[in-house]
């Protein structure tokens, strides 16, 4: 039984991917402490390395058109081992929901409303995300068009207003880091910025043209990478050597905008950007988590799982890290190793098994 009745076009898929990946213009902070003014080089390199990984994901999806990740795991690894693989992916998607929820929450509590109880924003966020998840993929995709345009416009607007604050010499020294640091920064870019699109293996079967998904994926990634490079260059040109000592750089640079004492305090634009991008990001992960659990448990609908998973996310995300710096540390030193298992290693194993077993078997072929 098909759990998701809706279907999105391939152009909607492109926009959804752009909107989904735009969150990286704020998580780019994880690389600033390492590669400083050269973070844009790490981001661009991460994008290039992510292309074959994204192609690996789309290859798997195209081998099993109309089947989602959970069904593919069952087909490739068998009923029992497939379930173990599926459980790993579900755990990964769930982790991403709570991590992004924590990031969102800590931002609002640290920068905007410090006196607010920790769970207040989480409640509101989870409520809105749950509503979007209950409405289904088509509604999420329709929202993403508006949000993607809005965030891109804000990036252009803030960058244009900051031109007066930019100093090209701040971009230098551009490569003042060791090879090891650069590799770590690229690793972060690959695992945190780009390759979480492995989640789309649960969404590809609900597109109109299931065999032409590589182009939308790469276009979406390219457009997001372009915005990321612009933001990284802008932040470096404005802050220069001060880049690694600021916690949320985009927010800090937007506070420097002052156009004739009239256009000031535009940091709220960054707050709105964070609100929008993280809403889409969390909604997609939340949607995929409940859809995957419903698929594994062979439920008729994923809707009954939306509320319990949301409640569980609030309870765990409210106290996930001891401090914001602990999250920055985890983002730079722990998460990239964890993420690469689900984003690269498991799909690679799937790819190898597909090749060895020559899957999918043609109908009528003798079973071995």
């Amino acid at each position: 039984m098909k759990l998701e009745k809706g279907e999105i076009t391939n152009s909607q898929l492109t926009i959804l991917i752009v909107s989904f990946l735009q969150g990286m213009i704020l998580t780019v902070n994880f690389t600033y402490a390492l590669t400083r003014q050269g973070s844009w080089i790490a981001a661009a390199t991460g994008f290039v390395i992510s292309i074959p990984i994204a192609c690996l994901h789309t290859f798997i999806a195209k081998r099993f058109p109309g089947q989602n990740l959970i069904q593919i795991n069952d087909a490739v690894f068998g009923r029992y081992l497939g379930k173990i693989f599926s459980a790993c992916y579900i755990w990964f998607f769930f982790q991403l929901v709570i991590h992004y929820m924590y990031f969102f929450n800590s931002f609002w509590i640290t920068y905007i409303m410090p006196e607010t109880p920790r769970v207040a924003f989480l409640f509101m966020l989870a409520f809105v995300c749950a509503m979007a998840v209950r409405k289904g993929l088509e509604v999420i995709a329709r929202c993403s068009l508006f949000f993607a345009v809005m965030v891109a416009a804000m990036v252009v607007f803030v960058t244009a207003l900051l031109t007066g604050e930019m100093n090209p010499s701040n971009l230098l020294p551009m490569a003042d880091f060791s090879a090891g640091t650069f590799i770590q920064s690229v690793h972060i870019a690959v695992s945190i910025f780009f390759c979480d699109i492995v989640v789309f293996l649960m969404i590809f079967p609900y597109t109109t043209d299931k065999l032409k998904i590589t182009k939308p994926v790469l276009t979406g990634m390219g457009l997001s990478a372009l915005q990321l490079v612009v933001v990284a260059l802008r932040d470096a040109a404005v802050l220069g050597l001060r880049l690694p000592i600021v916690t949320l750089v985009s927010f800090a640079v937007s506070r420097l905008i002052n156009i004739a004492n009239i256009l000031t305090r535009l940091d709220i634009l960054i707050a709105i950007t964070l609100l929008i991008t993280f809403f889409i990001k969390i909604t997609v992960f939340y949607y995929v988590t409940v859809l995957s659990i419903a698929q594994v448990l062979k439920l008729r609908s994923y809707l009954p799982l939306v509320v319990p998973i949301g409640a569980l996310c609030i309870a765990i995300a409210s106290n996930l890290y001891e401090s914001d710096m602990a999250q920055v540390y985890a983002g730079a030193y722990v998460w990239p190793f964890n993420a690469v298992v689900y984003e690269v290693l498991l799909p690679l194993v799937t790819f190898v098994v597909i090749g060895v077993r020559k899957l999918p078997k043609k109908e009528g072929a003798p079973a071995k």
Partner: protein, 72 residues
Amino acid sequence: MIVLLSAGFVILVLMEGPGLIREKSWRELVAYSVLMSVAFAVSLLHILHIEIPNPVRDTQYLVQGLLRLSYR
């Protein structure tokens, strides 16, 4: 706080549960009940300031403690 939490969960169960029973969606009802119980238990422990398993700490232990994967 515990009363507030319990009331919140009761309201949520009353919103979803009867519909599932009416539709005879037993499998969905079991999944819903189990997940809801876990969510309630975790929330309750959180309110009582009892330490619950933290995915971040576990992941960190796995990556840096057991597998010794680190850039440092």
